[in-house]
């Protein structure tokens, strides 16, 4: 096999995994703290992508993308805050199934809202001039944008780690994930902890959507295909485990792009196959779940 083709696919896979990680890290974080898989996560990702399109078109030029990268996730965070404070927080006492269904209902609503606001056509965003074109790394050709992703991914991981381990709120969120009653007994308003965790998780979904915008077509339905992948990744990583989300994303991203080299038509089957194998061998995920 051609080594340079292998290594460039490998790097592409790694960079795709970074986007997946940003999204799945957020999903895992919310799952860990609230114990609910947020189906609307995919819709928020989609909103992030569409919003990036709009902001970068509005502002125009190269700066457009950079500013969109900042604004779009904030918009997504705002949407999630409204949904959370308005409706979601009233359901925290209910069984998890109801919460899950609520997130599904929200995903339906957001999906149609996107259709209403942006219409049903394909959109696309071009990468900023700084990141256009490719580089040569160790003989492999890699688009500059992917290199950018390879840098952003670890930065997000470090930021998340710092947040959950070094900031007060982060540590409280981790505690709430393990024992929410105890946290409440300590006099901390658990509802606000949930709100913050939820908004941060959704913010990351927005970031993921913004990051993916220049690399893929922005279409209705990207929410549904993303959320199933995100779920599977979070499951094989270990529920609620952020590092697990990283491992899962790496497995998913790399198997898919290496799959392109082996059997291009069925490249997408490889990551699903990998997920099945992992779950058959380790049904609870590779790393320890937070619960």
């Amino acid at each position: 096999m051609d080594f340079s083709a292998f290594s460039s696919q490998f790097l592409v896979g790694l960079s795709r995994a970074m986007i997946l990680f940003v999204v799945c890290g957020g999903l895992s974080f919310v799952l860990g703290v609230l114990r609910v898989p947020n189906i609307a996560h995919g819709s928020l990702y989609m909103i992030g992508a569409f919003a990036t399109f709009t902001f970068s078109k509005l502002i125009g030029g190269s700066a457009g993308f950079w500013i969109a990268l900042i604004l779009a996730p904030l918009l997504v965070a705002l949407v999630s805050l409204i949904a959370e404070r308005g409706l979601f927080c009233h359901l925290y006492q209910r069984e998890h199934l109801m919460l899950l269904l609520f997130t599904f209902a929200v995903s339906l609503i957001l999906g149609d809202l996107v259709k209403i606001v942006w219409g049903a056509e394909y959109r696309s965003v071009s990468p900023p001039t700084l990141l256009k074109g490719s580089l040569s790394i160790f003989g492999a050709s890699l688009p500059r944008y992917n290199l950018f992703l390879l840098i952003i991914g670890p930065l997000v991981a470090i930021a998340l780690w710092l947040f959950t381990n070094k900031t007060k709120i982060g540590k409280i969120s981790r505690a709430a994930a393990v024992d929410r009653e105890m946290v409440g007994v300590l006099g901390i308003n658990v509802s606000w902890v949930f709100a913050i965790a939820f908004v941060i998780g959704c913010y990351l979904a927005g970031v993921g959507g913004a990051l993916v915008a220049p690399t893929a077509s922005i279409i209705i339905g990207m929410d549904h295909s993303l959320i199933i992948e995100a779920f599977l990744i979070v499951t094989i990583g270990g529920l609620g485990n952020m590092w697990g989300a990283l491992v899962g994303s790496l497995i998913f991203g790399v198997t898919q792009s290496l799959g392109v080299l082996i059997w291009p038509q069925f490249a997408i089957v490889f990551p699903y196959m990998a997920v099945v194998i992992v779950l058959l061998l380790r049904p609870k995920g590779l790393l320890k779940s937070v619960w």
Partner: protein, 328 residues
Amino acid sequence: MRDKEERELYREIIRSKWFGFSVGIVFLLLILPLFLPRFYVYILALIYVTSLLAMSLNLVVGHGGMFQFHHGVFYGVGAYTVALMLKKTSLPMWMGFIAGPIAAAIVGLIIGWFCVRLTRLYFGMLQISLGSLIWVIVFRWYSFTGGDDGLPGILMPPLLSPLNHSYYFILIILLICLIIMYLILKSPFGSTLQAVRDNPQRCEAIGVNVRRHQLMAVVIATFFAGVAGVLFVVLERSAFTELLFWVLSLEIFIMCLLGGWFTFAGPIIGAAIMVALRTFVGIFTEYWTLILGIVLILLIFFLPEGVVGFFQEIFKPRSKEATEGGNQ
């Protein structure tokens, strides 16, 4: 002795108030095509197919307590099996009709065998992953399964070509399946299944091989899902990858919840509501998923027991009903 027990049961059924009601409804459904416009006949038939699917899911979820998160896969397998057989081979139609549920049950056996070794949530997640693998293969295998386009334009034999004939065929199969499901739920198997739902550990302690029991339930449920898949093809003359996608599986789950999953006929009500909603809202606006989302949220906040559960609560003050908790 056996005949006597059966006769007792039949006598009880006939005397029960639901029997008269059900017979009346069935009679009504049988004569409806005679004076309803085509569109409504089609919608009713679609409700029947969806009801069968929802009922099959409820066998394992409501009555069995299992986290069957990707039931749609078996529906899709049934549909694709019959569609592929009718389209790609010249085997007689009835073979396809039989092969569908059998294929679904075989897939159910394989997936179920892996899943029953796990508990609850992990059962569900493994099923989602296995089901999604099947979906993605069918989705990509354009040359064989038609991929994203699905398999449209399947020819039905002349006997089933007119819509009304399909309607009757679907209705009759539905009724037969419902009767079988009712018998199964009232049998020792069904009784033990409900006990497994309520307390699997206790069942092990009274000598029930819980895994084997759950696997049997899964195979039965997936068989019926396969039947529903065949009926779908009879009605729609096509098969689509949407049948295998997780969204549909979640929707069936919601139908059971909506209708009330500890009752026998709850899923039928749930299916009817969902299909009716989708159709009639869809006439006014293309954004019916938005409406569905809002309706769901209203339900979550105001009707947590499901529609049937809600009505059961209202009509509760009948002491016998209250003591025979949960099954009509």
